[in-house]
Symmetry: C2
Subunit: 258 residues, 2 copies
């Protein structure tokens, strides 16, 4: 099975290397910026392409791993008929690909992917959706060679999962940033919190997060909350976030006790 990767960003990069490791032949890598295409293509022994009309019609699978808003545009430039066409987006419906091939689907790697951080693709859940049974059968081998963690969800569920990941991961990371920046300004070592952050993530591996909530808001400890708000006096955006989250925690647990 020959593969073409359209895109050179985080997902495209990790996916391309994972395919190479699984001994698939990535024929071409496309990016509008030739240098980006070349850099990734060189790493995996593929041909770099910076013009959509130069993309081969002879490969078996075309994986679009570009920004969500560019998926349709890239798909519409390919002439595939019945070649397999996939995108990798958590929040984009599979059906945006329908006009462009008879055989299409989604391969969404559920991970917070930064180019800089090395990644073991075999530990990443792959969320899959296919236009039809035949496409599914053709893709399952490839999928399992990338990761044993295979899940089939429809587009609505996948979008919900992506939203869940935004709350649990993207937003959590932003809270780490607030904590980091706040403590830096106070000459307190953020590193002290690192074991605590790991412990917080580790705990929910085998507990329901609602059952292990700690902190002043869950105790409705308004005294501490007011002290914290005072510390945030000169940081109105962080103060607002503190207030919104604390209020919601107070209300969630007040409702629970009733």
């Amino acid at each position: 099975m020959e593969v073409v990767i359209l895109g050179s960003g985080n997902v495209a990069t990790h996916l391309a290397y994972a395919l190479k490791k699984a001994e698939y032949h990535v024929k071409q890598v496309f990016s509008r910026q030739y240098e980006h295409a070349r850099q990734l293509a060189d790493g995996i022994g593929a041909e770099p392409v910076d013009q959509l009309q130069h993309i081969t019609t002879e490969a078996d699978v075309y994986i679009i791993a570009v920004k969500d808003e560019s998926i349709q545009e890239v798909a519409s430039s390919l002439r595939l008929r019945n070649k397999i066409l996939l995108h990798t987006s958590g929040s984009t419906d599979m059906d945006v690909l329908r006009p462009f091939s008879t055989s299409y689907g989604v391969l969404y790697p559920l991970q917070t992917i930064s180019k800089e951080v090395e990644l073991d693709f075999s530990k990443i859940p792959l969320i899959l959706e296919f236009s039809d049974q035949r496409t599914k059968e053709m893709m399952m081998n490839l999928a399992f060679k990338l990761s044993p963690l295979i899940y089939e969800y429809n587009s609505e569920q996948r979008r919900c999962l992506h939203l869940g990941a935004v709350f649990a991961c993207n937003f959590s990371n932003f809270l780490y940033t607030i904590s980091y920046d706040f403590l830096k300004g106070k000459e307190v070592d953020f590193s002290l919190l690192k074991p605590l952050i790991m412990e917080t993530a580790a705990k929910i591996q085998d507990h329901i997060p609602k059952d292990i909530q700690t902190g002043p808001a869950v105790r409705n400890d308004q005294n501490t909350i007011q002290k914290h708000m005072a510390l945030l006096e000169h940081y109105p955006a962080w103060k607002n976030i503190y207030q919104v989250l604390s209020n919601e925690i107070v209300q969630t647990y007040a409702a629970k006790e009733e």
Copy 2:
């Protein structure tokens, strides 16, 4: 050195067992609810006490591990003169103890402590503050036997650290809860996010959180943000949190790029 523990909650419990493990003699455990005092006291071979006037005046160290708002009240009921008096609160000034002994301080275990979850105290950073050098010298041995991770910070820094922990840990856990509850309602398996949550926490062990932010908001991907807001239409509180955090991420990274 003989120790009295005042309190029977999460911190009191883990601290009492850690002291026992370090071969300190915990003489008494106080709780207003006799059953609570008894339960903890039995586990560590101490005497349970449910009336403040029955607390011995003969111990060396009195550790108040009660709710922040009760610290002063408990302290004021003890007659200690020059015995060492400590509290364990992140957000309470050391000086609330000044009227009650000549020798006082704070031993704040920086951890998200739930009674249900087992804890290795030796991996918890202890944030210490003492009224004077003599008290410090007397307490350092005990502190090091509990944990090698010893830090001295003043009350202001400790309060900032506590606030940092609220953002990075308590609020993160609440975001896990939102994600869990939302996905449960959509029949999507929250467990899928568990590796992602671990990875998010693991990444900041050796990266600055601001440098590894991912998700739609950091890309200012309004298309995805609007799709997510639509999914949250029937959950106004979560929608508000989504909006507040996304806006702040957009603004933080817009400012960074300028």
